[in-house]
């Protein structure tokens, strides 16, 4: 269950870009998860609400594009 740690990294990254863009909170995030990156999308989705509680990504919708390869990216997000 290393996905919790991945979630925390995701939220850190998202909040950094949120602040940079002058936003207040994140309402949705679109990720790319490659089949060889070592991260299971379902485990990520399960860990996300717990990790996001109390952050500016709380309640954000997670959209995961599954691709082939080793990429694990935060592609874009919707912010307010």
């Amino acid at each position: 269950m290393h996905e919790a740690k991945i979630c925390l990294s995701l939220i850190d990254l998202a909040e950094t870009h949120l602040v940079r863009a002058g936003g207040e909170r994140i309402t949705a995030m679109r990720l790319e998860v490659g089949d060889l990156c070592g991260v299971i999308p379902e485990a990520l989705e399960a860990a996300f609400p717990i990790c996001a509680a109390g952050t500016r990504a709380e309640n954000a919708a997670l959209h995961i594009d599954r691709t082939s390869g080793r990429r694990l990216l935060l592609r874009d997000m919707e912010i307010l």
Binding site: H17, R25, G38, R70, L80
Partner: protein, 240 residues
């Protein structure tokens, strides 16, 4: 209900003067790796080690694949050179591996990860604060025994050796492709057990190369010494 501006938003208490409306939503492109912080740590670590002339080799594999035993045999092969080897040993509990490796003449630091299932660059970086690297030419990073979780986390190593033992089964590369994808060498260990187990080394190698074409695959037994010369060549020269 938002009655201040009349937008009808159900979650906004009345009297809230300013609140975001759906039309305020902005899309921001990020296009960054979620692991970039760990990758940054790993790159800094790699650079720091390279500046000191230290090469770092990652040892990965499931519990019981033979990582520590291979490291012990490697240190024995190196003879006097063992004193210039250092090791970071990752385990959920205890310091058994650190003691085994230290007994073979290497400098060792044990990282106890508790419930954490893998090492990462940050953990390794801090572990190295407790290791005297003067005179060290090679650092071994023995990850927590696990064929899943260590895959995405770079630890500052320049090369990764993945171990799969004959006792584990030849289907491991098919089942754990992410670990294969990140490996620079696949070592089929405990090859001396081959007559006693249903393990097809050709199937194992071919499955690994389906995931990672051209991956070097070697067969060895740390116990009998079979294949150790090929392993040592990879360790010294980077090719098997």
């Amino acid at each position: 209900m938002c009655s201040t501006c009349g937008c009808g938003h159900p979650e906004v208490p009345s009297g809230t003067a300013r609140h975001p409306h759906p039309e305020d939503v902005r899309r921001v492109a990020v296009e960054r790796s979620i692991l970039e912080e760990n990758d940054r740590h790993a790159e800094a670590l790699r650079k720091r080690l390279a500046e000191r002339g230290i090469e770092a080799i990652g040892l990965l594999g499931g519990p019981g694949a033979g990582k520590t035993t291979l490291l012990e045999a490697t240190l024995d092969h190196l003879g006097a050179e063992a004193a210039s080897q250092a090791a970071v040993e990752g385990d959920c509990a205890g310091d058994l591996d650190a003691r085994r490796v230290a007994a073979r003449g290497a400098r060792v630091v044990q990282v106890v990860t508790g419930a954490v299932c893998h090492l990462d660059a940050h953990l390794v970086g801090h572990a190295l604060e407790n290791l005297d690297l003067a005179g060290v030419s090679r650092l071994w990073i023995e990850n927590v025994g696990n064929l899943v979780c260590p895959a995405p986390f770079a630890c500052g190593e320049t090369r990764r050796a993945l171990l799969v033992s004959t006792a584990e089964g030849d289907d491991k590369p098919e089942k754990y492709p992410a670990m294969i994808a990140g490996a620079d060498l696949l070592a089929i260990t405990k090859i001396d057990l081959l007559p006693h187990v249903d393990f097809d080394p050709a199937r194992c190698a071919s499955a690994a190369r389906t995931v990672k074409p051209g991956l070097p695959v070697i067969r060895l037994s740390a116990r009998t010494g079979e294949g150790m010369d090929v392993w040592m060549k990879w360790v010294r020269e980077g090719r098997a």
